[in-house]
């Protein structure tokens, strides 16, 4: 993979790559270079398969990370491109014309993270949720438990045991619990 990264670095601004495995590398690219980079990888370097397009919410940094994972089947290599976009009014560049499957991923990101992809077909249609009116649920500032407590009624009587304490009691009933230090 090092040869490929060195070749790409001649033309594009990339950060220091993260070599996870011999056949898997992560690298961060610039947002404005993303499209030409994807086209170069697809048409010249043989990365013909879009494995996935997903997002990571960097809440503290105020960023969304879009991950485009590409696979070169013939060379058995996977390259993941990371692109950071601002979290407020997040807008990504649509790539549905490069890989038609991206349309589905972009619809999912629009619904679950609220990242818009202008020009992507049916991007504003509902994807999985039906009649969702709150903020996109995969955003980290959406508190799933708090939402659930405010929406669905609990049935009383539910208890949770700490597994470590429970097993200690079950296995060593004679041993006294440790005094707090």
């Amino acid at each position: 993979m090092k040869d490929l990264i060195a070749k790409l670095k001649k033309h594009y601004k990339l950060t220091e790559p993260d070599y996870r495995r011999a056949d898997l590398t992560f690298v961060t690219a610039q947002k404005d270079e993303l499209r030409s980079l994807l086209i170069a990888l697809r048409d010249i370097e043989g990365f013909t398969h879009l494995v996935l397009l997903t997002a990571v919410d960097w809440l503290e940094e105020g960023l969304f990370q879009l991950t485009y994972m590409l696979n070169n089947r013939a060379a058995n290599r996977t390259l993941a491109l990371r692109v950071m976009i601002p979290r407020a009014n997040a807008v990504g560049d649509t790539i549905h014309d490069l890989w038609p499957t991206a349309e589905t991923y972009q619809r999912e990101l629009r619904e679950m993270f609220g990242i818009d992809f202008p020009g992507s077909p049916r991007v504003n249609d509902e994807f999985i949720l039906e009649g969702w009116t709150d903020m996109p649920p995969y955003r980290r500032d959406f508190d799933s438990l708090a939402y659930s407590l405010q929406t669905y009624r609990e049935r009383p009587g539910r208890v949770t045991h700490d597994p470590r304490e429970h097993m200690k009691k079950a296995l060593y009933p004679d041993q006294k619990p440790e005094a707090a230090k």
């Binding site: 999985i128 949720l129 039906e130 009649g131 969702w132 009116t133 709150d134 903020m135 649920p137 959406f142 508190d143 799933s144 438990l145 708090a146 939402y147 659930s148 407590l149 405010q150 929406t151 669905y152 009624r153 609990e154 049935r155 009587g157 539910r158 949770t160």
Partner: protein, 230 residues
């Protein structure tokens, strides 16, 4: 319990607009007439369900209940993983047909709705419609901890926790998931309840119809169906 943000407030202001194809409007028919249509009213009867009266004497009612208990026809509506646990019941190993239990493809032919696992809001909507299309007397059985208290979906944003808020449940079978043997034990217990004349879920639904509808509409935001769709 997992920690949560106490300052998080759910957005209760926003309403989901009625889908365009469901809105009342004026259309031109192929033969040139102009007519007003209201899709939610035109194709459905909105009369609320009625309480099913008991037979005129106790011995007849007992006979009816015996007959009802001995032919439980299940609507094959599979939600969640419990749908997998129901399939072995059809096979020779467990053979639920010995108890007069069989699976039917449509709500019209069945009198037992098995909610076989978690219900997301999207599935709940379909389950309610299926239940309302079944003919009385009808029964609901909830399978597994998901229908009882949310189970492993206790902190999910899109999964209901208590099934009996939305549908009248006659019997819960606990487990995650209950084995087919547990299901058979549950069926036998349900038969006892029906024979004793205590499986009054459908009548409960008719009596507390407004409350059930209010609960259902509180979670199903895009309510694009009639209030009662039999």
């Amino acid at each position: 319990m997992k920690h949560f943000d106490p300052t998080f407030k759910k957005d209760t202001e926003k309403e989901f607009p009625l889908r365009e194809e469901m809105r009342p409007r004026t259309v031109e028919t192929p033969d040139g007439q102009t007519i007003e249509i209201e899709p939610l009213k035109d194709y459905f009867c909105e009369a609320p369900p009625k309480v099913h009266p008991k037979a005129y004497s106790k011995i007849v009612e007992d006979f009816y209940n015996w007959a009802r208990a001995e032919s439980l026809w299940i609507l094959g509506f599979g939600t969640g993983c419990g749908a997998i646990e129901m399939r072995p019941l059809m096979t020779p190993r467990f053979d639920a047909y010995r108890w007069g239990i069989q699976w039917r493809p449509t709500p019209r032919q069945s009198n037992l709705l098995m909610i076989s696992g978690y219900l997301s809001i999207k599935t709940l909507k379909r389950a309610i419609r299926a239940y309302e299309q079944m003919q009385q007397p009808k029964y609901v059985v909830g399978l597994g901890s998901c229908t009882i208290n949310g189970g492993m979906y206790w902190d999910s944003y899109n999964t209901i926790k208590r099934l009996d808020d939305y549908l009248p449940v006659d019997m819960y079978i606990a487990g995650c998931m209950p084995r087919p043997e547990a299901l058979l034990a549950g069926f036998v217990a349900l038969k006892k309840i029906i024979k004793a004349g205590k499986a009054e879920g459908a009548n409960l639904y008719a009596e507390n119809f407004a409350q059930y509808k209010a609960n259902q509409k509180a979670v199903i935001k895009d309510w694009d169906m009639p209030d009662y769709s039999w």
